[in-house]
């Protein structure tokens, strides 16, 4: 039976996003958005609605303008929470001008954020966690906000804003990632999925326990590094400057901000690519690649 609950998720600048949800989603909300502040309650009109569909306890309907045709049906509470993220991000951006959602991982090395934009399987998620193992501040493994830093009192330069989402890893972890990395992940993970034989396939990593950045934490961007993982060649490691136009092209392809005017988006991503050093990183071993990223990248 559906149990309706009202929640508020943090937006920037002390604003809140109202979500009408279902009690069955709460455990997943707390696990998958571990560092995104969420409180129960609130009586303002909902910005996002999630409701159980009829008597089918494993189906939910999400409603928000950012969803295709304004609504999305999913077949589990877990998937409903996964699909809440894009509307939440859309609400954050709508309330804070000049921010773009980027399909990218990120970690703060020293005073600056290394942003790793890329498709799935590019190695960006593993790199961000490898950097966390080495003492960098984990900011995200799949998505973050980028802007010109004027939001939240930044100095005006390119900046990244953490979303507080829980990172996930595919299991088993490839041995090439290194024994230290495997031990690091195993210390901080919780298995989410197993296959039909009971073998673990997906785990979440507790971002709080690895010192991850909470929602809203802002840091200046020091570099854009476009990763490309090479299978079967652990010795491969090549870090070289990336032309600004090529970097901007990558950023545009990874930008997920449907409400932003295309010309404005091009302007913002071009300014970002022109404003920080841009690099291309080809690697076979995420451990070696992370070791390299922890050192000064160059001019």
């Amino acid at each position: 039976m559906s149990a309706r609950r009202a929640y508020r998720f943090a937006a920037l600048d002390d604003a809140w996003i109202r979500v009408d949800s279902d009690a069955a989603l709460e455990p997943f909300q707390r696990r998958f958005l571990a560092l995104w502040p969420m409180v129960e309650g609130g009586d303002a009109p909902a910005d996002i609605v999630v409701e159980a569909i009829g008597d089918d306890i494993d189906a939910y309907l999400l409603r928000h303008p950012a969803l295709p045709d304004g609504a999305l049906r999913v077949s589990s509470a877990e998937e409903a929470v996964n699909q809440i993220v894009p509307p939440l991000v859309a609400e954050v951006i709508e309330r804070a001008a000049r921010l773009v959602s980027l399909h990218a991982a990120a970690a703060r090395v020293g005073d600056g954020l290394i942003v790793l934009p890329g498709d799935s399987m590019s190695g960006k998620s593993t790199l961000s966690l490898q950097l966390a193992l080495r003492g960098a501040r984990f900011v995200g493994d799949d998505r973050l906000l980028v802007g010109d830093g004027t939001t939240r009192g930044g100095d005006g330069g390119p900046a990244g804003v953490a979303l507080g989402l829980t990172p996930r890893v595919r299991l088993p972890i490839h041995p090439a990632a290194g024994a230290d990395y495997i031990a690091f992940i195993e210390r901080h993970m919780a298995v989410e999925h197993r296959d039909d034989d009971g073998v673990a396939t997906i785990a979440t990593v507790d971002p709080a326990s690895i010192g991850g950045a909470p929602f809203g934490e802002l840091a200046p961007i020091s570099a854009i590094v476009v990763p490309r993982r090479v299978e079967g060649d652990e010795a491969a490691l090549d870090l070289r400057p990336l032309a600004r136009g090529q970097a901007a092209l990558v950023l545009l392809r990874q930008a997920a901000t449907p409400a932003v005017d295309a010309a404005e988006l091009v302007g913002m991503m071009s300014a970002l690519a022109a404003g920080v050093p841009c690099w291309s990183l080809t690697f076979g071993s995420s451990a070696r690649a992370a070791d390299r990223l922890m050192r000064p990248l160059g001019g």
Partner: protein, 90 residues
């Protein structure tokens, strides 16, 4: 002789190694590589395809003439079809 010109409705952002052109009516984003960006730059003033061809042949004397002409022909057709370039009758 028909003259080619840039579509004035497009928004342009230029970086050191490429040019982005946005069609505000469709929100389409086009990335122009070095050749296409060079054509866009050359068309700061309307120009015929023949004059463009002569310009490129002069700029790339070491490249095969047939290759330059074929590449330019395909490029101009593509840019025109996508509305980035207009002809003098438009």
């Amino acid at each position: 002789m028909a003259l080619l010109r840039r579509n004035p409705d497009m928004t342009v952002t230029t970086l050191e190694d490429g040019t982005f052109v946005v069609d505000p009516s469709t929100q389409a984003i086009f990335y122009l590589d070095t050749l296409a960006g060079g054509v866009w730059t050359a068309l700061a003033e309307p120009m015929s395809a023949a004059d463009l061809e002569a310009l490129l042949l002069d700029a790339f004397p070491d490249r095969p003439r047939d290759t330059i002409i074929a590449d330019l022909t395909a490029l101009l057709r593509s840019m025109t079809e996508r509305g980035l370039l207009l002809t003098s009758s438009d």
